[in-house]
Symmetry: C2
Subunit: 485 residues, 2 copies
């Protein structure tokens, strides 16, 4: 459960350790090791010397790894190319495998698991808490999961089944079982005596959970109250009855907001019958927030999963391919829109040079508006009564910005091509298409939200497609009407 | 220091409360209130009734607000239009002003502070801890800060000066002073007795800080150890000497990674002389992460600050204007690149319809690569030795993807315009410009990083400008060479 080698954590030195590992395992060392493994004839004295030096290096490395926190080893494994990574993985003591697997990113985890046999995997998993096993489960072969399941106690099996039954974005999937429960009818002294029976309390224990004889959740006793009151006091008046609790099927995003708003370290998870089933900690919440912000940033350019430098190229290609293909479809469509005005462009080639300006500005004003709306929707602070107000405000902003920038563009076009009507068409198209872009940028996320769907990569492709092609259409359309007869 | 009304926190009901406030304060109610304030002659019986009903409503509202956590009141204030917001703000008891100001977003905070006079502000600030005062300080008028400073103890003045002296992205700016210190030469029993003198321990107290007589930091005593060991034990063997500590000028981003990697709740901040100066908690780290991820998402579309629905329009216009103007400059430049090929386009108008395809794909492959590189740089897991490997891999991915999509585009162009050479030019331009886009997408962030500068909005504008215009240039250039004689 708890990490025995967790101290000392040389945070300042993780990168230094990484560089050291890398140096010890450079190409030269690897070649020597390969030679060693092939048991080449020991003819040359030089070779023998090399081997001795190499062995010394490796044992030094093994010792260094032994002294590191498993999170640090995970960090180092992630930063090493696959051959070196597997060498280091072999050197790590087997009794830490589970913790380390739990700390590495998905791609690296796969590469490590693929080198382990059924027994090794079962042993590694057996070191973990049930909630950690649940995290690992998607990467494990079926038969290993079955083995592990058999080795668990009835209570643990139930816990594992529970965590795995909740879908990814619910509190239930994130909960753990590091709950210390007490009964209501005791004194602080009794609680203190009970706690001393623990070897170590679960991480993030800032409160004890009070339950009755039927495991029905009653409230919490903060350690704070335990520590600042006289031992003879009964706990009953100190128990907080109306505390923040979650249901297992609640959305994690909302739970994350609650954690930050009320400054929580841990919170109980209680099922429909009022039974205490687990707890959520600030660590799970931080992990969720981090992966969400990561996905936000990567999702904006259509990447579905994180890549590491050493992941197989084929996977990276796949990761990027879909988005590029989608985008190609969008521009094919845009290209068809333009081609319906080929006749106009042939007559007035300036249109071809000016049209990307309008389209690009339409996309940008749409994107800005959408970013604002998505933020507001996530905070759930838009009351239905305010939606209209919001739309009006966004449009007003777009009017001001598009008038200013449309004016500049009009002057730009006029200066280059000395045509007043071209300047006017340019300015007019800019205003219209920025307004339209804004309108789409408001309505699309609002509509997705009302239909109960999350705004996703798909939304952003659709938004770009519509704003981009309508930018071209408006500009070329106006030009055809007013400039080409 | 601690929130007296923090319980109960009705998290499920915050939105309900918000709606209730909104209902109580709707237009009708506001008009009545205005009438009331103007002391209109009480001629009509109907009006009198309205007033009575209205008064009852308001006192109900006041009561409801009294029962809410200040974070909830902050949430409600943020979601109300300015008139309603100020009404609610007036109704909140003055002794909670400080906490609430500390919980609202910057824009809302400004609107609230602007209604308060010097005395009110001083009283509100006086309720806060020094680290909270430091958070508020940038929004306070100079003379209020001077008043507050005078009212502080010498120790608090020193703390306030310390926090405010560190720049925004350092640990020092984020630290607080909720440190419970003990000496090394006592038993657990003595520590327990000492803690009982506290009314309440600071939030997030998971460990006590051990210092010597000169305030030199020695180590930490986890509450865990205090609770699970016999009271007669001396603390010395339980103190963790080699614990994770930060220096005040360390970067917060790195501290955030350390917090998550080692699952910390709090950590000591120690100055160069080894003196304990404060602590960082997981709450500050979460707040930092949240604002960073928010800025990442908003920064991608060039928004410099968060907007709320009710912020003055002029500020919103400014917020969006710079990015749009920058973007306009970029497309003006792109437009000039295209116009240098006007002659070719005039001869072969299909070029105008196909050119946006190439440019858009170049931008996208550049963006994807940059997103990956920035993530890897943030994790600091790229060793210099691996940079070349990374570049080769990215280019290889680009070759595969560009060959596939270039081929598709070539066929598309050939099908539409029945020209083999146009198809070949299209495919060739796509491959070249996606490769170039990728190369720029790698080198730009790497170069910024090596120069010690963070990748910013500016980088992304530059990246788009270069990839976009080189996409047009390559396609139109190839076409001019191979299609136009």
């Amino acid at each position: 459960m708890s990490e025995t080698t967790s101290q000392p954590c040389h945070k300042e030195n993780v990168r230094e350790h990484l560089q050291q590992v890398h140096r010890l395992l450079d190409k030269h060392a690897l070649q020597e090791m390969a030679a060693h493994q092939q048991e080449m004839p020991r003819t040359e004295r030089h070779e023998l010397e090399g081997k001795v030096r190499h062995k010394r290096q490796l044992s030094g490395l093994r010792e260094m790894l032994g002294g590191l926190h498993s999170a640090d080893i995970a960090y180092i494994l992630e930063a090493l190319p696959i051959e070196q990574r597997l060498l280091v993985w072999d050197m790590v003591k087997a009794d830490r495998d589970g913790k380390i697997l739990n700390n590495v990113s998905d791609a690296v985890r796969e590469s490590l698991i693929s080198t382990m046999n059924r027994d090794e995997l079962r042993d590694a998993t057996a070191q973990l808490d049930t909630d950690e096993i649940a995290d690992l489960a998607p990467n494990l072969p079926q038969e290993v999961i079955r083995d592990v399941f058999k080795s668990l106690s009835i209570e643990e099996r139930e816990q594992l089944r529970a965590v795995m039954s909740y879908s990814a974005n619910t509190v239930g999937a994130l909960m753990d079982f590091g709950i210390v429960t007490i009964h209501e009818d005791v004194t602080l002294k009794v609680v203190s005596r009970y706690l001393r029976h623990f070897n170590k309390l679960p991480e993030y224990t800032d409160q004890l959970f009070v339950v009755n004889r039927d495991d029905i959740f009653k409230g919490v006793l903060p350690l704070n109250a335990l520590l600042t009151n006289e031992p003879d006091m009964p706990i009953a008046p100190l128990v907080i009855l109306d505390t923040i609790k979650f249901q297992p099927d609640e959305n994690v995003g909302e739970a994350a907001q609650v954690f930050e708003r009320y400054k929580l370290v841990s919170a109980p998870v209680v099922d429909e019958d009022g039974k205490l089933v687990g707890r959520v900690t600030v660590n799970s919440i931080m992990g969720y927030n981090r992966s969400k912000s990561k996905n936000d940033v990567l999702g904006q350019v259509g990447l579905r999963r994180e890549e590491d430098i050493f992941s197989p190229m084929w996977k990276s290609v796949q990761n990027r391919w879909l988005w590029l293909a989608l985008n190609l479809c969008v521009v094919f469509f845009v290209s068809r829109v333009i081609s319906s005005f080929e006749h106009s462009i042939e007559k007035f080639v300036a249109l071809a040079t000016l049209m990307p300006i309008v389209a690009s500005m339409a996309i940008n004003s749409g994107n800005q508006t959408t970013a604002i709306i998505i933020r507001l929707l996530a905070l759930e602070q838009i009351l239905p009564a305010h939606s209209r107000r919001l739309i009006v405000k966004e449009l007003a902003i777009a009017v001001l910005n598009s008038l200013a920038l449309g004016g500049v563009s009009g002057v730009f076009a006029y200066t280059l091509y000395s045509s007043v009507s071209l300047g006017l068409v340019m300015a007019g198209a800019m205003v219209l298409s920025m307004l339209l872009g804004t309108l789409i940028g408001i309505l699309l996320p609002l509509a997705m939200h009302r239909m109960g769907r999350a705004t996703s990569t798909g939304t952003s492709v659709l938004l770009t497609a519509v704003t981009n092609s309508s930018g071209y259409f408006i500009f070329l359309g106006l030009a055809t009407i007013f400039l080409i007869h």
